[in-house]
Amino acid sequence: MPNLRLLLLTLTTVLGGAGPLLGQCQMLYNVSVYSDGSWSSDLSAVYGWSNTVDNSTLCWCTHYSYQTTAYLYDPYGDQVSSTQAGMESTVSMAINGLMGTYPVRGTVAFYCSCFGAAGGGGPETPVDVPIPTTLTIVSGTSVQSTESSVGCPDGMCGNRRSFLYQVLDQRGQPINASMSVWDQVFNVNGQNGCQLNDLYTTTCPTPDTGPCGVNTSSVGKFSDSLSMCSTHCYSMGACSDDGCSTTATQMWFIAGHAVTTDPKTLVYKCQSITVNGQ
């Protein structure tokens, strides 16, 4: 996801100290440091790089031993940097669920045969890592299964519902990245009329931990399969409905970041499962 904003720092200095005679060559520093950044396709890392361009008027001088440094700051201001010989440098940082603005800044140091050590740096270029803010159900993808296909254990009936979620950023735009996804579910026993107290399954096999190898598609979509089976939905050898209801709250994690607008409220009934009333 290239951040197309480029920042140009121009250090232009006319060095009167060079003492040029009228009509003679005048030394002119014109060194530019470009900085930019991007994030990985799975939103797990952010990258910054700096590129130095030296268009100085050198006259009889030479510039040499360039060292370019790229600095990358996380939203809390913690910094990593990388200094490399030459005109370019790259740096990276794991995102670890900390979305937001990661400023990149570049500097250059070099030697001038006439004036010794020289260098400079530019202002920061912001790299905005999108924040997983909302999960929206993709219209037309919700499928409610029939009781017979749910595969409940003997003595239980229930239903299953599946649909596609789309991950949206803080501006309501889809995040086009293949990101890790997992969920946590709480308060299953708070309002638990259907007595879903046996093996409430979440995306990862170990409750409350992730990631576990599940990723969204490259355009930030994934399927959620919600299911319930209960003895309350079974009577006299057939599926029935005693009107039970279980409420749970759910928190999703996308690329390690808790979805900002969560938690969601899940309501399980014998013949329906709703998410935030939908």
């Binding site: 293949s178 996804v181 096999p205 490259s218 749970a248």
Partner: protein, 246 residues
């Protein structure tokens, strides 16, 4: 990275269609000669995952974790070598691992668990049926089924209800299959071939522990967590190309 491949051989394999005859195709791929191949893995498992990705091989891996300070990084270059030899060398770069092929899937196995009755992968399931379900959902159902065998439920505490929410994403799609009297390993193989989640991994902690019923406990793929028996066993399905930087 594969720089040069004997194209006619693999082109033939593709034309045969490995989805319908996976064993033939995997064997053919394994016998293919690669002119120049280099693998550079931060760890033993990363090297295996890279090879699986590069040669498009379905792979089931039993992975014994090592101490965090023990490096298993592996870098090697081969010239004019069969895929099978490359995989054998990567596998053998760490002691205690074996390689075989069954069901069209390359298996990287822990020798110590080969004939161990506590190996959950050799547990036989009387019947397992998947009807138009995502592999991720079917996989979780299989885990729950295996859990009931590892930790038999107390008959005095009869279950009254169960529910869940399971996300599945890239590489997954609804599949159907029906298996009888199959091992967990066989079922994982079939699930792995059914969609585009071409790799399954069962991770074992650095120090072996067993459940009350004698099964070797598994752990999570990422962090080396102590996983309670109620969450055993654990396995992970991956697409080709995932976690190659492990």
């Amino acid at each position: 990275m594969i720089t040069r491949l004997l194209v006619p051989v693999l082109a033939g394999a593709c034309a045969w269609g490995w989805q319908s005859t996976p064993q033939v195709s995997s064997q053919t791929k394994l016998d293919s000669i690669i002119e120049d191949y280099t693998v550079d893995g931060n760890s033993h498992i990363a090297a295996l995952l890279k090879a699986a990705r590069d040669f498009r091989l379905p792979m089931g891996i039993e992975w014994q974790k090592t101490k965090p300070n023990v490096s298993t990084a592996y870098t090697h270059r081969w010239q004019h070598t069969s895929v099978r030899s490359i995989l054998e060398e990567i596998t053998g770069s760490q002691p205690g691992y074996e390689i075989d092929v069954a069901n069209g899937v390359v298996h990287i196995r822990l020798a110590t668990l080969h004939s161990d009755q506590g190996n959950i992968l050799d547990l036989r399931v009387p019947a397992f049926e998947v009807n138009n379900e995502y592999v991720g959902v079917a996989s979780r159902r299989l885990q729950l089924l295996a859990n009931r065998i590892i930790v038999p439920p107390d008959p005095r505490e009869a279950a009254l209800g169960q529910g869940g929410s399971i996300a599945t994403g890239s590489g997954d799609r609804p599949v159907s299959l029906k298996m009888q009297n199959s091992t967990i390993r066989d079922i994982l193989d079939q699930l792995c071939l059914a969609a585009d989640l071409n790799i399954w991994i069962v991770s074992y902690p650095e120090s072996e522990t067993r459940s009350m019923s004698g099964f070797v406990r598994t752990t999570t793929l990422g962090r080396d967590l102590s996983v309670e028996d109620k969450s055993q066993p654990i396995w992970t399905f991956l697409e080709w190309g995932r976690l190659t930087d492990q």
